[in-house]
């Protein structure tokens, strides 16, 4: 199987990140690395640079990683990590998208073997997808 774009879900809640990752991974037919980075280092509500860093490493299959934050302030943690100038998976994009819908759309698009920019677009198009 060819490598697919990896996905990192950054949430303030470990349970929310894990549950969304499970759902997205299954929708991606088991072909996509969807890694949860939820909660603080001591298991509380919040985000953790170390968890995001570790998740990026786990999600990296060599063809790019999409990072999806749950709420605006999770973006700050992701940006703080990117600003450290450490070696990180490349290419890497941060998606501005609804969390559950974006994760599912991204996983399905990655499972189809599409590139990082297509996966990013699929996640961000979730803003326009009505469910009713």
């Amino acid at each position: 199987m060819n490598a697919t774009v990896g996905i990192v879900l950054v949430s303030h809640s470990a349970a929310l990140a894990r549950g969304t990752a499970d759902l997205a991974a299954q929708m991606g037919a088991g072909r996509v690395r969807v890694v949860a980075a939820g909660g603080t280092d001591d298991g509380g509500l919040g985000t953790s640079i170390d968890k995001v860093r570790q998740a990026l490493g786990e999600a990296d299959g060599g063809v790019g990683v999409l990072v999806l934050p749950d709420l605006g302030s999770a973006v700050l943690t992701v940006r703080a990590l990117l600003a450290l100038d450490e070696p990180l998976p490349a290419p890497l994009e941060v998606a501005d998208a609804p969390f559950v819908e974006g994760a599912v759309a991204a996983a399905v698009t990655a499972a189809a073997g599409r590139d990082l920019m297509s996966v990013l677009t699929a996640a961000q198009e979730a803003w326009h997808a009505r469910k009713l």
Partner: protein
């Protein structure tokens, strides 16, 4: 060469999340643009969120419309998948 092609499938079960994902993954593998039409609703077959939102249920007819160089292959593949994916227990 642009070709257009279509087929109709009668659903034997509701179109839930996992089959919708399988359809979108398969559709993304074709160059043709592909739509599912149910009543007056239309979904982009390559968008899983769009396919789920169409809310297709057992007994409804789904029209598959494809346009593009591989339209016939796309319609054939999605017709089969749609028939399988909505079987009870899928």
């Amino acid at each position: 060469m642009q070709e257009s092609c279509e087929a109709v499938v009668m659903l034997t079960g509701d179109l839930h999340a996992r089959p919708a994902a399988s359809l979108a993954i398969a559709a993304a593998g074709f160059e043709a643009s592909i739509a599912f039409l149910v009543g007056d609703r239309r979904a982009d077959a390559k968008s899983v969120l769009s396919v789920m939102a169409i809310g297709a249920t057992s007994g409804q007819q789904v029209r598959i419309l494809a346009e593009g160089p591989d339209a016939p292959q796309a319609v054939e593949a999605l017709r089969d998948l749609l028939a399988q994916a909505t079987q009870v227990g899928a």
